[in-house]
Subunit: 351 residues, 2 copies
């Protein structure tokens, strides 16, 4: 076994502490990644604190992982030592069901091995995430990453990037279209960058007037403060596509009404209460309300290649692992523009 | 002006009475249709009884109109005297907005002249529907109908047919797909016939076990009684497309969960309360919840041509206009298989 170290929480109320654990020895198709950076996703916080009531402790969170390939198994073909590799929200799936065959591993009908707070395909062995020194992963569930980009800023693409890229691509967002992004956080800021890169005319909807300069710096063409519903009235029926990145419960009808004929709105957040949807909000203009959940391995690779080509990364604030508690507090207060990324060098400097 | 007669209600509580009124003289692009048959849509009842709180009285309902072209205006090119013509849910629109230009007249951004309980483009002159002897309509808002089919059975295609055809076509329902139809009434029975004709494997979801033989006669391959939610469990993730024709408030999540990856469910009914939609019902499997409202003129013509080619009509019970009150009572009790159609001959036989 390979000795690894990381930071773990031991229960919903506990603080992060240094944690030693083992990664499996490399199988024939495995690679060993020395983790350089790991993004801090809001879902890390929900799970560390057992807010989804499904936490397994001790927990090493982290599913926005980028690092250098230190070793490859005997049958690995996609990577060689020294390459940059990434790991996203899952590390394995059944590989035989319809969804796995179609490249939608995230919807595996048998078992999805989440990168952390999950289990391997034996449905027993716990998985540990990216707040750690290294990870062993089957090459088929690792992503190839360009060496040319800022790797800290690439890390959040593995979750925030694919979560926003996938619905934009699925609904064929393109030049000449009017696109709305609801909420400007870790997901929303990626949505803006990606939609702008696809040529769309992008409007950010936010409750915070103070975010307008940021929205415009990210490339947004318009900014609408949603606290006053009157601001939305002139926009009814004007949008081809809306990506709603807000996780808190909120009214979907007011955004659905902004869609033109055959327009679609996609939600990627999961509020704890159901949304009340009026039939006429979708029947009028033949509208669609869709959901989207991260993306499969082929599309995640496509997204990374797209971002490398278009020089798109996340706006990040890099922190040492020792500041993870502070980063959680600030993330909960939305006091980050727009993603914390842990520099794992800080872990190796610990005694 | 042209003298017409029909049956009208004078208020939400009033009974239908014979009613004399005028149709406009033919303009250059108008045609005069002598109405042979008019379907009885559930929305006729809602409006006759002011259940949508927007009724204009006296009201002559009816928007599933089929008859013979008796006269054509000087510039009419699509019809000649003696042709069979139809009129659906609307008789005019602005013809210049984006939706009109795109063939989605039903979503006209200026004014949609509904066939009855509406106003002409002057937004003043009331419109009267198909429970009447004849109608004058611009040829651009009339549909061409094959002489070869049973015209009484064609009438409901003008509303029930297009309402179900449009979403099936929009989501490209085809052979090899598994399709669900929720509810077996006027809309649902057309949904079954159309989806079967497109080659899909069709399952009817109904609360009434007694409808199974009918469902199978209509061509459905499977029938699921929804009163026991356990019946749905083995079907989770199995459907490519679901058409939900139920107008009463009901749980959408149980049907959304039946959709496979990228599957879509379309609702065409408008319950008086909003639906509670769980985010995970659409985020899981990247599902879509869409709405659909009748169809534009080009697609309605396409549907009629399709039905003529595939020999599809509605299952109807033909009644004389004098039995309209009884037909309303039975429609409300769902005691019709599956659409009442008024034979307008009964009107001309009145003194």
């Amino acid at each position: 076994m390979i000795q690894a170290k990381g930071y773990a929480v031991d229960g919903p109320e506990s603080k992060f502490e240094p944690f030693s654990f083992e990664r499996r020895d490399l199988g024939a198709s495995d690679i060993l990644i020395e983790i350089h950076y790991c993004g801090v996703c809001h879902s890390d916080i929900h799970q560390a604190r057992n807010e989804w009531q499904n936490s397994i402790y001790p927990m090493v969170p982290g599913h926005e992982i980028v690092g250098r390939v230190a070793k490859v198994g005997s049958e690995v073909s996609k990577f060689k030592e020294g390459d940059i590799g990434g790991v996203g929200c899952f590390v394995d799936s059944c590989r035989t069901c319809e969804n796995c065959n179609d490249g939608f591993e995230q919807f595996c009908q048998k078992h999805l091995a989440l990168t952390y707070n999950g289990t391997e395909m034996d449905e027993t062995t716990p998985t540990f995430g990216g707040y750690s020194s290294q990870i062993v992963v089957d090459e088929n569930y690792a992503l190839k990453i360009s060496e040319k980009q800022n790797l800290a800023a690439v890390a959040p693409l593995l979750c925030a990037g694919i979560t926003t890229y996938s619905p934009l691509k699925r609904f064929n967002v393109r030049a000449g279209q009017r696109v709305g992004i609801v909420g400007l956080g870790g997901l929303g800021h990626m949505g803006v960058k990606l939609a702008v890169s696809m040529g769309a005319d992008v409007t950010v909807f936010s409750t915070s007037p103070s975010k307008e300069p940021d929205a415009r710096n990210l490339g947004a063409h318009n900014f609408v403060v949603t606290k006053d519903p009157q601001n939305l009235e002139p926009l009814v029926g004007k949008f081809d596509f809306i990506l709603d990145t807000v996780s808190a419960a909120h009214d979907l009808n007011m955004y659905l009404n902004l869609l033109r004929t055959n327009g679609a709105m996609v939600i990627v957040g999961v509020p704890d209460k159901p949304a009340e949807v009026y039939a006429f909000s979708v029947i009028g203009n033949n509208r669609m309300l869709a959901g989207s959940m991260i993306g499969g391995i082929p599309e995640t690779q496509e997204m990374l290649d797209y971002c490398a080509k278009h020089n798109i990364t996340s706006d990040v604030e890099t922190i040492p692992i020792q500041k993870i508690e502070e980063a959680y507090e600030r993330t909960v207060k939305a006091d980050v523009r727009y993603r914390f990324v842990i520099d794992m060098q800080s872990l190796s400097e610990e005694v």
